[in-house]
């Protein structure tokens, strides 16, 4: 049965080259151009560069003096931390609870996973209506319960809650499904043995489920941390251009705004590079801190 087709590798190259060319044309070349553009002066999307900036590293200096970039970085880091705590944390909690019930597992899986399949733009519009100042669902409920002044959920005191809640809520289901799958892979024999030994429910989770979920949780954490860097659509729909008072910028939304709204394409390219660099650094750090274990 050993055909020569599997020994000769040259035909494989023919099949690999199209994918490689695709990646080269649509990923690596644009990325290289992005680095080049960050040193140029480009005054509008689609317009040719008007030579190099003077000095050529102008945009990189600007990054450190730009207070909005600072806000965007702080918010993105905060989002990363909140993602770990709430997205992965709540997903773990829900998964452990579901693992302990006999009926309705599939129902809850579907229910918790459902937000993932709704487009972020639609979710943004939905939450905009929920948190709307005049006539929004939350404010209407609060008024019913006797509040006299409506709350501006997008003001400086509330915007973080308003922006982060939908983002957290949307992806809980994603990590929930991964963790549930991890829990299903744990042999029931181990739980039965623990039960015979008199282990309580909490101890079974503490000494069996969590240790055996270690690698799954590490995968979730790395996905969550790197995913937080790419969050764009939902905050953009809800908070627009840094609402309120340039406080809600994320690196993704700020890059988009600089490029598409402000027309400062070279600075937008520079921010894009920062996002990539942070992504690589954070994923490397996460890989080193949360090492996978062999069982």
């Amino acid at each position: 049965m050993n055909s020569t087709i599997y020994k000769k590798k040259s035909p494989l190259a023919v099949f690999l080259i199209p994918a490689f060319l695709f990646m080269a044309v649509f990923l690596y070349y644009p990325f290289a151009m992005n680095i080049y553009n960050s040193f140029c002066n480009i005054t509008g999307l689609g317009t040719a560069a008007e030579g190099f900036n003077s000095p050529w590293y102008l945009n990189y200096g600007k990054l450190f003096q730009d207070p909005i970039m600072n806000t965007a970085l702080v918010n993105t880091m905060l989002l990363m931390i909140l993602t770990i705590i709430f997205q992965v944390g709540i997903a773990l909690l829900l998964a452990l609870l579901i693992d302990n019930i006999k009926k309705g597992t599939q129902f809850f899986r579907t229910v918790y996973f459902f937000p993932i399949v709704i487009s972020a733009t639609a979710l943004g519009l939905l939450f905009n209506l929920i948190f709307l100042y005049d006539g929004g669902m939350v404010n209407q409920l609060l008024m019913k319960f006797g509040m006299t002044d409506m709350i501006d959920w997008k003001d400086e005191a509330h915007f973080l809650f308003t922006m982060m809640t939908p983002v957290m809520w949307q992806y809980v289901g994603f990590y929930f499904v991964i963790i549930v799958t991890g829990l299903n892979n744990i042999s029931p024999d181990i739980y039965e043995a623990a039960e015979i030994d008199g282990a309580s429910g909490f101890n079974r989770v503490r000494y069996i489920s969590l240790p055996l979920l270690h690698n799954v949780l590490i995968t979730c954490l790395i996905l969550a941390v790197t995913g937080a860097l790419k969050v764009f659509d939902l905050p953009w729909v809800m908070m627009g251009a840094g609402m309120p008072m340039d406080q809600s910028w994320l690196t993704g939304t700020y890059m988009y705004n600089q490029t598409f709204t402000m027309g400062d394409v070279d600075y937008g390219s520079t921010i894009a590079i920062v996002i990539v660099v942070i992504g690589v650094v954070v994923s490397q750090v996460a890989n080193r801190i949360f090492k996978e274990k062999d069982y």
Binding site: V14, G46, D155, A241
Partner: protein, 436 residues
């Protein structure tokens, strides 16, 4: 057998990759023959306008170009979008990459400078050498000459004006009279105070999203129709000082609590909804907003539009308006013998007196004979026509003289000026520092 299958698959894949790049001798011959006889055949022209999406004139635009298709046999490939900064960027990108349309409905201010300077569009003088009656129903002085070289390139359709929309029901409930042509800024402030004391928002405006119109008129109130379009060199020259005073007027309105409580976090749609819900009294917007009121008002008769209150050198009856957009024929289409006449005919068909009148009879126009009034105008349209008719001065918006980046930066700073996070002078200087 597997070797044969692998070979066939490889060849098929390779062939499919190259298929798109191939031009067979037979195909080129056919294309050549087609080109030679193309001038006589109906052609397809690509048109980009801002009448896409939910534009109030979308239906009028569609009806007009379909009538052109029927009359000429040509086909219009419509690639219209909604006018915003992304739309502008996409058009510029299309020109940059050689994918420009044949006819473009676009701004005639500094936004089009790159098209004019790059020779991407054809001047009306050039077109008239071959087609002498091109745009002959328009007054040349009002076509909207390019700031790049002072020549006319575009043929306008519906001009615009900006005015003060008023919720008459709210004013009546608050015991405030509906303002007229002699409305002053001081009276306006007093009325706002009265309205606010009744628990109603005096001004519907999102400083976060669309402070454009208040900026325009507050600046105008410290200038005259002849000086309004001048750009400052710095915040300390005369024009710069006028800008700073205007921006500080916005700050005063904010400080006095005349804007919605959430003006720094609300969208334009949210604040305008206050007008429809009888929760706000005044809003400044443009002629295009009439359609919004017609769609959203419980009763159109509860609304009117009039002059924005004036002060200093500006009479209340001096208004912002003009013809900021028009149809361009691109150099690419002009150089194509098959498309040249089709494009000229298209622009002519879209700018006849009848078609222009359907696009906005209340608006400022370049038509020599003026627009033809509709027989079924509502009270808001009648008020708008009365306003434009009684205007003592019309000047274009000064913001059109700013490049996109500077304009966006300035408007983003207006909420910061209002809340005291920056000063008007700093915001003006920061905007003017953005040169390209």
């Amino acid at each position: 057998m597997k070797r044969v299958i692998a070979f066939i698959l490889t060849m098929a894949l390779g062939g499919s990759m190259l298929a798109g790049c191939q031009s067979t001798p037979a195909a080129s011959q056919a294309a050549s023959q087609e080109a030679s006889s193309e001038a006589a055949k109906p052609v397809e022209i690509t048109v980009v306008t801002s009448y896409g999406g939910d534009d109030g004139n979308r239906a009028n635009y569609e009806a007009a170009y379909k009538a052109y298709e029927t009359a000429t046999g040509n086909t219009v490939k419509d690639a219209s979008g909604t006018s915003n900064e992304e739309w502008k960027a996409k058009i510029m990108a299309d020109f940059e990459t050689g994918a420009e349309p044949d006819v473009l409905f676009y701004f005639n201010g500094v936004d089009a400078n790159k098209l004019v300077q790059g020779g991407k569009v054809v001047s009306i003088d050039e077109i008239r050498k071959t087609y002498p009656d091109y745009a002959s129903n328009m007054t040349d002085d009002r076509l909207g000459a390019s700031p790049a070289d002072g020549k006319n390139y575009s043929v306008p359709v519906n001009g615009y004006w900006e005015g003060l929309f008023i919720n008459k029901k709210v004013l009546k409930d608050c015991g405030v009279e509906v303002p007229g042509a002699d409305y002053t800024w001081d009276q306006f402030l007093k009325d706002c105070e009265t309205i606010k004391s009744k628990g109603i928002t005096p001004i519907a405006c999102s400083l976060q999203e669309v402070p454009h119109y208040w900026f325009e008129y507050c600046i105008f109130n410290h200038g005259t129709p002849s000086t309004h379009t001048k750009l400052p060199a710095s915040s300390t020259d005369d024009v710069g000082k006028a800008w700073a005073e205007g921006l500080n007027d916005i700050k005063t309105l904010y400080t006095k609590g005349y804007f919605p409580k959430n003006t720094t976090t609300a969208t334009d749609a949210e604040t305008f909804q206050l007008m429809a819900d009888d929760k706000a009294a005044f809003a400044i917007d443009g002629s295009w907003k009439i359609g919004w009121f017609q769609e959203n008002a419980k009763s159109i008769d509860d609304f009117t539009v009039t002059y924005v209150p004036g002060e200093n050198g500006r009479k209340s009856t001096d208004i912002i308006g003009g013809l900021s957009m028009g149809y361009y024929i691109t150099q690419k289409a002009w150089s194509d013998p098959a498309k040249q006449k089709a494009c000229v005919d298209f622009v002519k068909a879209m700018t006849t007196d009848e078609v222009v009148s359907t696009f906005g009879a209340t608006a400022v126009t370049a038509l020599k004979n003026g627009t033809i009034a509709k027989s079924d105008t509502d009270s808001l349209e009648q008020a708008a026509m009365a306003m434009t008719k009684g205007a003592t001065g019309i000047t274009p918006a000064t913001q059109d003289g700013l490049i996109q980046t500077a304009r966006t930066a300035l408007f983003a700073d207006i909420k910061n000026i209002a809340t005291g996070k920056t000063t008007a002078e700093k915001a003006i200087d920061a905007c003017l520092a953005i040169k390209s």
